[in-house]
Point group: C2
Chain length 224, copies 2
DNA sequence: TGTACATCAGTGAACGCGCGTTCACTGATGTAC
DNA sequence: TGTACATCAGTGAACGCGCGTTCACTGATGTAC
């Protein structure tokens, strides 16, 4: 009885599958939770199963082995990152011109990326470690859902359309912009910004975004 | 006899210490070697001892525990990175002007950083992971030897002196420049640049450095 | 509608493994007299 | 110079642990007739 009562998902509907109903997703969620608490290195498959309340080997019904579970967790992390970036784009307030709007959206994407990394440091590490690599390969995502990489590309395309980014600089811009934002996030996670208080961290982040925009859209600089 | 013959260090002089003579450094070197081969997660203290040809617990004469050994390995990594940056600065060819020389040195520092990361990926990961964090705290290095962070600062100071970097932009430049270069290195290690061939990777790296210099030294860009 | 059967998602116990760390020890080195 | 002793850097065996993974299994669910 109690088992039946328990055996519903969050929306209250009976689970479609047999016993647990959604063990695969529950394990991924537990893996992410535990990785965030202890770091990717300390994570164990047994602990994830324990956390879900299931025997250790039950995981093998859904994942070939431990690394398959970690890869799934990393993929979920990328999906969450994409979601956060999409929300940030949507939340951009109206701007007086199309150019400023494109610029605001570009910065919003970068900010969302950094905020995600700071909010979920261990998950971010997982995503860019051994098990996340597969998610970065072109063609990993199904075409239907946008991925983080594509969102950045769209933001850059908008800068070109708005006349802010020279078309001939567009091809290299993707990796350069990503690198700047990724590096800031990684250094923050490594504790480089730890001595800064909140406002100082915020200012440093804005300066980084400013440098990036300047570097991509500004005049050619001292070497030209 | 043979033991005596063996018991000399690389320079041929008899070892100053008793048995192995330099076990501490040998363990650090082995740790780095093994971490580069298997990654930081797979590294074990026992394997390092085995590699050096010493019993597992001998390591405890020199390190409190495994994490102390890993921290020492990370610190050695930072020393190697600094060395590489210094060499790169020294190798800069003469430039027609002081400004161009300052610029060339700044770029050389960034290039050396990225090259180090690509050459020693697992060590680089270790340095910016859990065990390297301590090395990034201010005051970790003794004042005598320069550290990587200080070298970057000097390169930026030279840009200010040369009139290329506005003094008011100097404070934020340090973290922004580091972030751009660090991010490029991290993405390369994550395999993002894996589809690129050598020249394309090289070009992307130069574009990143160009963006950074433009962003720091160029005109204020579209928002001003 | 009832029943026999196939499928499928879980259980519980066990395995071998390598790990970090501790223990009591040994033998080489350095030093005081 | 020789000798007794302290120190110090190693050894070998053992510990308990939690891990990933496999095995034979059980019981719930779905389905064909």
């Amino acid at each position: 009885m109690e088992y039946k009562v328990d055996n519903v998902n969050i929306s209250g509907e009976p689970r479609s599958a047999y016993h647990h109903g959604d063990l695969r997703n529950a394990l991924v969620a537990a893996a992410i939770r535990l990785i965030e608490r202890e770091g990717p290195a300390a994570f164990s498959l047994r602990e994830a199963a324990r956390d879900v309340g299931v025997s250790a080997n039950a995981a093998y019904r859904h994942f070939a082995d431990k690394s398959a579970l970690m890869t799934a967790a990393a993929a979920d992390g990328f999906a969450q990152l994409t979601q956060r970036m999409l929300q940030a784009i949507d939340a951009v307030t109206p701007q007086p011109s199309a150019a400023l709007a494109a610029l605001a959206r570009f910065k919003a994407v970068g900010r969302a990326y950094i905020e995600f990394a700071v909010a979920r440091p261990a998950l971010f590490h997982l995503m860019f470690g051994e098990f996340g690599v597969a998610c970065l390969q072109p063609g990993f995502h199904d075409g239907a859902t946008p991925n983080a990489w594509a969102l950045l590309g769209q933001a850059l395309d908008a800068l070109v359309t708005a006349g802010l980014l020279a078309p001939e600089r567009r091809p290299d811009a993707e990796l350069s912009a990503w690198a700047a934002v990724h590096g800031f996030a990684a250094l923050a996670l490594a504790g480089v910004t730890a001595p800064m208080n909140g406002p100082a961290h915020h200012a440093a982040r804005e300066a980084l975004l400013e440098m990036t925009v300047n570097g991509l859209c500004g005049s050619a600089g001292p070497t030209a």
